[in-house]
Every structure is written in C-alpha cells, then in structure tokens.
C-alpha cells in the first residue's frame, strides 16, 4: 500500500523553488534513502514532507489511515536543545502530543505508549535518565522512540547516524530494519550512501539533474555506471 507519494513536487521557501520535479512514492514496509550533496534541497524536502512548509507546486499525498495525523520525525543531531533538563521518558512522551488533541495533559495510555516505544528501541532502561547524560547513540534511540509515539506508519530521519560510532550506527540500522519488517514506511536522509543503501529498498538521488527515483538494485547499477564514466 502506498503511504506517501510525490508527483512533480517542487519544494522551497515562500514560493522560491529549491528543488523541482520530485517524483517518488513509498509504501508500507519500504525504506527510502534520500542521498545527495549538502545544500541541494534535501532538508527542504524533509520540511515539506513533515508539513512544516507548504509545497511550492505539485502534489504531496500522505495516507494517514489508521494512524495519528503526524509523520514521525527524527531531526538532525544538535537541533534539539543542549543541556536541556529532561528525562528520556519525558522526551519520548512528548511525541504523544500529536494524539492528545486539545487535551492539556497526558493520560495513562500515553505514558504506556511512551514506555512501549522506548522498549521497542531498547531504551526503556533509561526512562528516568537525564537525556544529556546519554551517549549519542542512546539519544538517537530515545528520539526515535519519540517519533514512534507520534506515528506508527511513517517516519522521516534526517542524517540519523552523523557523529555516531560504527557500533551505534549499526544498532540504529538494526532497529530501523525491524521497524520496516513490522510494516512501517521509513525515509532516511543521509550522505553516508554506502551504509544507507545496504538497508534501503529505494533511493531518491539528488544529482545534477532533477532528483531521480530508483529501486535500490537500479541505483547500484546507476552508481556503478557513473563511477565507470568518471574513471
């Protein structure tokens, strides 16, 4: 089932296009990797997918059936506050804001959902730990749990492994693989192409021309051809 589809999408700020002619779709249980140089419009696309900025033109369709109205999001590291006094539990719980509607406070089921999400990513033992005392990989897992609290259908991760050691990177990808196996649609923005395409099913490549959408096998062939060209 298609979860998210872009047709001739143009993204940008206040009517000024940053990237144009974006066509791709992603279904449940698929992992799309968005690759490309910095400053080429990947983050702008992410903001559009999240509904933070409106598309300049074209169509963006997201199927929310059965799940809250949000897209789960794991921001680039360092975007959240440093030395912020918060426990891992409080942070995961804040993902449930999507679901409580106009209510002011979280209920028992929200707390349970936060615990389940932390457990899912192997972070339950840090529920009461201060966030800034956790390692980079542990912090990413807590933030992933927060994204899982917001949605159970689609999550977007912006450079999730930047600054993580290989071991933490590996365990993060393992968690993503298992979420995908559970039927989640996952979008990763990454410049670490090799690691990402090992786990991807599809690739959206921002290159010199319009962004191209590949299955992961086609992208390997395409990349190989390009490398041969250069040589």
């Amino acid at each position: 089932m298609t979860r998210l589809a872009c047709t001739d999408l143009c993204v940008g700020y206040s009517g000024m296009p940053v990237a144009e002619h974006i066509d791709f779709c992603i279904g449940d249980g698929e992992l799309l990797c968005i690759v490309g140089e910095n400053g080429i419009g990947k983050s702008t696309l992410v903001k559009t997918l999240l509904g933070i900025i409106p598309p300049v033109s074209g169509e963006l369709q997201i199927d929310y059936t059965g799940h809250g109205k949000g897209v789960g999001y794991l921001p680039q590291r360092g975007e959240s506050q440093r030395d912020f006094p918060a426990s891992a539990g409080e942070i995961a719980l804040s993902g449930r804001l999507v679901r409580i509607g106009p209510r002011a406070f979280f209920g028992k089921e929200d707390r349970e959902a936060a615990r389940r999400a932390l457990e899912r990513v192997g972070a339950l033992e840090w529920y009461d730990e201060p966030f800034d005392r956790l390692s980079g990989g542990q912090q990413q897992r807590v933030l992933l749990a927060r994204a899982l609290c917001a949605t159970s259908s689609i999550i977007v991760l912006d450079e999730p492994t930047t600054g993580l050691d290989p071991e933490a990177t590996q365990s993060l990808y393992q968690i993503l693989d298992s979420l995908r196996a559970d039927g989640m649609a996952i979008i990763i923005v990454s410049h670490d192409v090799d690691a990402a395409i090992t786990h991807a099913t599809h690739v959206l490549a921002f290159e010199d021309v319009a962004p191209q959408f590949f299955s992961v096998a086609d992208y390997r062939a395409h990349r190989h051809a390009r490398l041969c060209e250069v040589e």
């Binding site: 509904g51 109205k69 912020f84 006094p85 993902g95 804001l97 409580i100 406070f105």
Partner: protein, 278 residues
Amino acid sequence: MFETLVSYLSYPFVIHALVVGVLVALCSSLLGTTLVTKRLSYIGDGLSHVAFGAYAIAAVTGITQNMLVIAPVTTLAAVLLLRRKQRSRVQGDAAIAMMSVTSLAAGYLLMNVFGTSSNLSGDVCSTLFGSTSILTLTQSEVLLCTIMSIVVVGGFVLLYNRIFAITFDETFAQACGLPVGRYNLVLAVMIAFVIVVGMSLVGALLLSALVVFPALAAMRVCRTFKSVTICSAAIAVTCALLGMLTSMLANTPVGSTIVVFDAVAFALFMLLGAARKG
C-alpha cells in the same frame, strides 16, 4: 523581632504585599526554565527596560493607571522580539540591546524634561530598583498583579506539555502539527505580564534576576523538566518570602533583598550540584 513580625502581619496591606511578591516570584520562575533553556534570558532584561520607557511615558502624560500603558507596550515589544528571533538569532540579540538602551535613555530623558514630580530621582530609582517599601502598592495594583499572575500560572499549567515540546525541539513540535508561532506568541504575552507585575516588586533593572536565578539554581541539581520546574518555583517563592520579611524587619529595599537571597540560593545549589557530581 518575632513580635514585630506578627504585628506587621496583622495589617492587611502587609499580607497583600506578601501575596503579590509570592505570585510574581512564582510566575517569573515558571517561565524562567523555558527562557533559560531557550537561550532567551536576555529577553526578560530587554523587556524590563522597555517597561521602564513605558512607565516614563505614563508618568509624563499624567496617566495615573500606569499599568494600562506599561502592559500593552511591553506585550507589543515582547511579540516583536520573539518574532524577530524566529528569523535570525544574531540580529535578534542586537535588536534587544538597541531596544533596551533606547527605552532606558528615552524614558529617563522624558521624565527629566517633562517630569512634573517633585521627587524625580526617587521616582526613577523606585522604578528601576523596586518600591523602597513594598507596602506602597495600591489596592488596584494588588488586584491587577493577582489577576495577571493567575493568568500566567494557569496558562503555564495548561500548556505545560506543549511548552516542553516547543522548548526542547521546535522543529519536532512543528512536525507534530503544533502551531509553534502561536504558542511563541502566547509565551511572549506571558513574559510581558511577568515583567509588568514584577516591576512593581523588584523594579525594571533587577527583574531578570527573578526569571533567571531560580531556574539556573534548580538546573544545578534537578535533571528532569518537571523537577526543575517544581524546584525553581519552590526556590523563587522561598526567596521572595525571605526577602520581603527581611526587608520589613531590617528596613532594607525589598527588590535588592530578594535578589540577594536568589543569588545566595543559586550559589548554594551550585555547591550542592558540584557535591553530588563529585
């Protein structure tokens, strides 16, 4: 000394003053956690200078209910500053510096040139450093302070979870569909309210101490948002009460006395935090 205190406490205006002081301290400490962690401590400082400028306008034009001038002007300035901050951090910093010194200078100039009061320096001094005696608060000031404090505390409690989300990670909050701009606006109005009520207690120059010290002290020891919020509120209320009672007994200026207690509390919590770590 104890008897003096009890005899003071039998006067209703003393009780009023204590209530206002506690409420002001409570409000500013609640918002303090958010402002400090959002790196916005200087906004409180800038706004209190704007409030001084507004006070000068009210004094010169002979408006007796000066809160009616100070509250809207400060709110407007708060909204403008927070709006600006969303666009660019560096310029926002400079904008606040300009805004605060300009209102300070213009305010003093206005009062000096057009002032009708016979005790100009006394007026200026009490606006900057707080009423020399908190007992000079008028009945209507007490009422207004109480209403504004209730609005701020109530708003904070109701929006607690959303304020947490916006403070910790604005982008994620936006992705959750929270109208972040609108909440920042609400936050700006709440900050302005705190500035306005706080000015009558500790004065424009000392106000940011009430905002910054309790939150910073609590953050030395507590590590979750909830515990920091509760702890800073407790610190603020305790310091305000101790400061006011001391100022009545020892006949010291109330604003500075409270701020000194806050600074001492910060030092104590810093030592406590260091001892815990070590």
